[in-house]
């Protein structure tokens, strides 16, 4: 089963890269861009039996390794599952 993990800096943490990208976009004339936040994206291929296990494992991996809970939060999507309720987002702690 495939899981996607999105890691971003917490809203309270300044993102120098996102800020610089926003400035670059403004300099190109894209003044309707209010803000940019840069993050990381992981595709996990998991050998698990069901979606519940996939979500639990992906969350554990994100919390322990993929994200640094001091500055980052994460969101998980299971690939292949229909959107909406089955694609429930999960936020990292902290």
């Amino acid at each position: 089963m495939k899981a996607k993990v999105f890691v971003t800096l917490k809203p309270s943490v300044f993102d120098p890269q996102g800020h610089t990208i926003a400035e670059a976009l403004h300099s190109l004339g894209y003044n309707s861009v209010a803000d940019v936040r840069q993050g990381k994206y992981f595709e996990l291929d998991l050998r698990v039996g069901n979606e519940g296990e996939a979500k639990t494992l992906a969350a554990e991996l994100a919390d322990r390794v993929l994200a640094n809970p001091v500055i980052e939060s994460f969101r998980i999507e299971l690939d292949g599952s229909a959107g909406g309720a089955a694609n429930k987002e999960r936020e990292g702690h902290g």
Binding site: V13, F14, T20, V65, I71
Partner: protein, 230 residues
């Protein structure tokens, strides 16, 4: 005194640390490969600068899982002096031996220059021979040294006098201009609750002889060497 210098794939200041301990200070020193599970009877552990594991994922994030880190944590828990320099500091943050995290420098530039570093506290094994308020001229070389901690962690660090080094002008003022990377409260280095684990972004091991521009870093390694004799 035996200094152990941990070597990760991508460490590049390991030889500077070894040289400073062995040839400048005249102490015993040994390299310890990150796959080792023992520190070989070391009295002081140095996590050197560099780009362990290519800075993949986050700086220090992969090194934290190296087998040797269990031994380092054990050593630290027993009160052993551990110094994390630059990438070594980042590893200490990632493995939780020190609180906080590093962000990209606020101007996104890699800073390679000599900066002023004010010694805030002298009751650690790495500042015992320094004077409080003394401004050291030390090199920095990093792209991610912008120290961040949540407000409650920062307040605790201040209250417990665990901010050991701050970026400062030659006159000792901690101005924003003297802050090369945007670190909170001009923080250049902090220590653990028990004060035996110290991490800093500047490189004292690269400033131990006047021939390289500054010998101000010597006091940090010498403190460790002498603290252990005393």
């Amino acid at each position: 005194m035996k200094f152990a210098v941990i070597v990760f794939p991508g460490s590049n200041c390991d030889h500077d640390a070894y040289y400073a301990a062995k040839h400048v200070l005249g102490q015993e020193a040994a390299f310890v490969w990150h796959k080792e599970t023992s520190l070989g009877g070391a009295d002081v552990v140095i996590l050197p600068g560099g780009f362990s594991h290519g800075d993949y994922l986050r700086t220090g994030a992969i090194a934290r899982f190296s087998p040797v880190m269990a031994a380092v944590s054990d050593f630290a828990a027993k009160g052993g002096p551990v110094l994390g320099i630059c990438n070594g500091f980042q590893i200490l943050l990632e493995c939780g031996l020190l609180p906080g995290a590093m962000l990209r420098n606020r101007d996104l530039k890699f800073h390679c220059e000599i900066v002023g570093v004010r010694v805030e506290q002298t009751d650690t094994p790495f500042t015992a021979l320094a004077e409080a308020g003394q401004v050291l001229r030390l090199p920095i070389a990093h792209g991610e040294g912008n120290y961040f901690a949540p407000p409650e962690t920062l307040a605790a660090l201040e209250a417990e006098r665990r901010i050991i080094f701050r970026y400062a002008t030659a006159a000792g003022e901690t101005t924003d201009q003297a802050n090369p990377n945007g670190s909170l409260a001009n923080i250049a280095g902090i220590c653990s609750e028990d004060r035996n684990v110290v991490g800093l972004m500047p490189h004292p091991e690269r400033a131990c002889q006047l021939a390289v521009g500054s010998a101000d870093g010597l006091v940090i390694l010498e403190s460790a060497a002498r603290a252990l004799v005393a």
